[in-house]
Symmetry: C2
Subunit: 548 residues, 2 copies
Amino acid sequence: MKVIIVGGVAGGMSAATRLRRLDENAEIIVLDKGPHVSFANCGLPYYVSGEIEEREALLLHTPESLGARFNLDVRVNSEAVDLETDKKQLKIKFGEKEYWESYDKLILSPGASPFVPPIGGINEAENVFVLRNVPNLDAVMAFIHQHQPKKATVIGAGFIGLEMVENLVERGLEVTLVEKAPHVLPPLDEEMSAYVEKELRENGVEVILNQSATEFLDHGKTVVLENGEQLATDMIILSVGVVPETALAKKADIALGLRGAILVDEAYQTSAKDVYAVGDAIVVKQQINGEDALISLASPANRQGRQVADIISGMKRTNKGSIGTAIVRVFKMSAASTGLSERQVKLAGLPYEVVHVSGKDHAGYYPGATSVMLKLVFDPETGKIYGAQGVGEKGVDKRIDILATAIKGDLTVADLPELEFTYAPPFGSAKDPVNMLGYAGLNIMEGLTDLVQWHEVSDKLAQGAVLLDVRNQAELLSGEFASSLHIPLNDLRERLHELDPEKEYIISCASGQRSYIAERVLKQKGFKAANLDGSFGLYQVVRPQEIK
Amino acid sequence: MKVIIVGGVAGGMSAATRLRRLDENAEIIVLDKGPHVSFANCGLPYYVSGEIEEREALLLHTPESLGARFNLDVRVNSEAVDLETDKKQLKIKFGEKEYWESYDKLILSPGASPFVPPIGGINEAENVFVLRNVPNLDAVMAFIHQHQPKKATVIGAGFIGLEMVENLVERGLEVTLVEKAPHVLPPLDEEMSAYVEKELRENGVEVILNQSATEFLDHGKTVVLENGEQLATDMIILSVGVVPETALAKKADIALGLRGAILVDEAYQTSAKDVYAVGDAIVVKQQINGEDALISLASPANRQGRQVADIISGMKRTNKGSIGTAIVRVFKMSAASTGLSERQVKLAGLPYEVVHVSGKDHAGYYPGATSVMLKLVFDPETGKIYGAQGVGEKGVDKRIDILATAIKGDLTVADLPELEFTYAPPFGSAKDPVNMLGYAGLNIMEGLTDLVQWHEVSDKLAQGAVLLDVRNQAELLSGEFASSLHIPLNDLRERLHELDPEKEYIISCASGQRSYIAERVLKQKGFKAANLDGSFGLYQVVRPQEIK
């Protein structure tokens, strides 16, 4: 059997190496149009700051090492430029040379390339970079070494954009971040991304939202925004998303779907016989709602690559789809998500509730505990978990990984309190924030609490509701709502007479835990009460202008 | 409704506070025979070293603060000494005073107390301590301050024993650890605990296995072991397990089960009407095999306490049982487990296979990556996961928490590769060690690999098998098997003629990954080959005497 694999990173190389382990006699050719295969693309930004010191660390394997270990015929700088699926022939371009290679099975794993919008003046600018591969990185580094830029503009505040911001700042540059969406990190919801925006600003990054670049002037030394504002810059990083690399598939009349990505069945078979596709270039099923999606992440790509090798070798495998789990570190903060965001759930018209829980990464009484803010989006009827997000200094990855596992296991809100985690003071708490998400979600489902979300507060207040702050006196020093009634929780039962039975009270503490206790007291005493979800802690981050 | 709760820590206090949130009008009395409630018992060892600096940090709440916040009647130094379940009366001892208190509902959450074996001379020794509560800790600290001990002996190498060892060493004491089992950390299997034993020895701890203390001489200045050896010591910590505190339940003729623990139904109801029990004192169902078990951990106790409050308030809740998840930090190492160990599975006569995977806590190319060694015990027919264990410097808690969640979600070995985790270089890898456990397990289930376990090697060699080491030449410097054939993996295909088709080859590399590749090459070329699970990395830790 002769197998050609187009694309030698995540999905392609996983397919090649697995195939070799299954079939010592197959002829396996791996093509990559770039000079490297199997490099650490997710590590590229960290070389910019020097956090990853050695460029070689990013080059996990060479064509030679893969040849020796897996008996692979790895051909770099070799682009697949044409495909005749009826003749099972692939045309390969190597330098000036072009030649045809036949195959029994063809696996397309071309990935996705950075989207470069048609911004005026972009072709005249020599300081504009994207970051997908090692040559891109080499270009960035050569520019930095040669021109010693002081100011950088990063356009696009997604995962890679934020990593570039951090690493450019760590390198000593002054960085401006421009994002078209109303908040950074668009895959997350606004209030969660607000923590990241705060961290960016605290690290000196200028954050410009609701804007995109419309023109580059002076050979890229000036970025013009939609509102006419002009930013002076020495270099520009474009990270405004990716597009599946499907020119070859298109040329070969292979069926394409969502946003031009390759359509495959559950066995990764494309519309052309004996042609398979995996990775960022294919349409996958978002497992949570069953809809078509593009999920450009390394983990699913690796799994798909391995599975397609199994399928080609005659084993039964099914692409069950992906839920999408991702994380980014931004200075001391990390932000992660799995599954659907609130925005996606709302857009899909699904019934949903949201709950926020703020806890500690490990026991509060043990040194070094930091806050973890988690958000859960779920169906209040069935408890089905649509998605989760987290921000914090430590332990966010763990909680989102747990919740991603819970989603894959079809666990519901009611199951989260049942989860038993490793607990010793340096690692966790007897009631982990994930357990607390379950308790809080159940309280909503069972009618024990009514939540008011951060974005509902101003309307509620306008309708006559009163904010009741139950924090201690000392906590008010860290900030207060512009207007609220203050009764510390421990005094509440004795001071109920100060409340108006006709009014609705939106109760807040620092995190939402004590305000829930207060809500229960008030509700049982006949008052109209609701809990401000996430409480003052969340509100001051997402609505700083409404804090005094 | 008048509710009395016996025991004011994890389960008891969770019940009390939840009950108050559900019922503002209930009369809730919480009794504790000690001077504190709601203290951080898991934090006690860390105060010994000073890592937790403030004693107050361990006292999370006072009776007064709980009174103010939850309107609880908290009575410390109050022991429940008699119970008449027909009259619904509890006798309480407070100092010299005894009185009866009636109840509508009684919740027993007395916990478990450290087992103190009847060792000769123990009553004459004033330097013997256990560590369950703050008075125990105060006694330890008073002794340390007064006598400035140089040498300590810790008897029992379970979770608390190991935490005490670490903290005594951090305090500057010379520590000897005595364990009756053949290895430290008996809840884990031998090869996993070997990493912990290595860490203990590297930190100067004298570890004595297969021994218990038979006598204390010279007022506890000498510990005599079974083999007659005498250890000089200045102080002794006893941590040889716990026994459920069920004297009161027994006196009241409440039905007891396994090891004298309280029997309850799925609604925590004991055999006596309106008497409930939760926490370390009850018999629970081990969810994985459905058998009775005692699981003395904070997380289930907290959940049970909350659930019993729900049940008393008329909500439907079921104690589904526990799987048991635990972790301990020992110097730089952490060791964790969830579910059943290999030993337990073997004892239960269940069909099982074992696989070890060694990976990195985060991307290997990103600075600071450390090794994580994971073990999975599973049913090779169905893929059901019985349990998992992990050791390493970082990220062990995360992996075991994920696997604990997978077990609760009835995920199988085949589901583990499907899990999508947060991946960015500082947090993980595109293929997480948990994914790799799934791939490795599937390879066993699908007949692609045959594993030889570390304890099977010597028998296999005696029967004529040959160890084939496929590491690179340079790696041999870190140690070699006493006897093995060495062919680096990358040379293997060219040197197959050096192998004997009649012999069986047990292949090893550093972690088991390259040796698996070699196994696949050999198998497809007609050789008898198996992979040494965990490979040289594991073997040198658990069988150091067989390494040259």
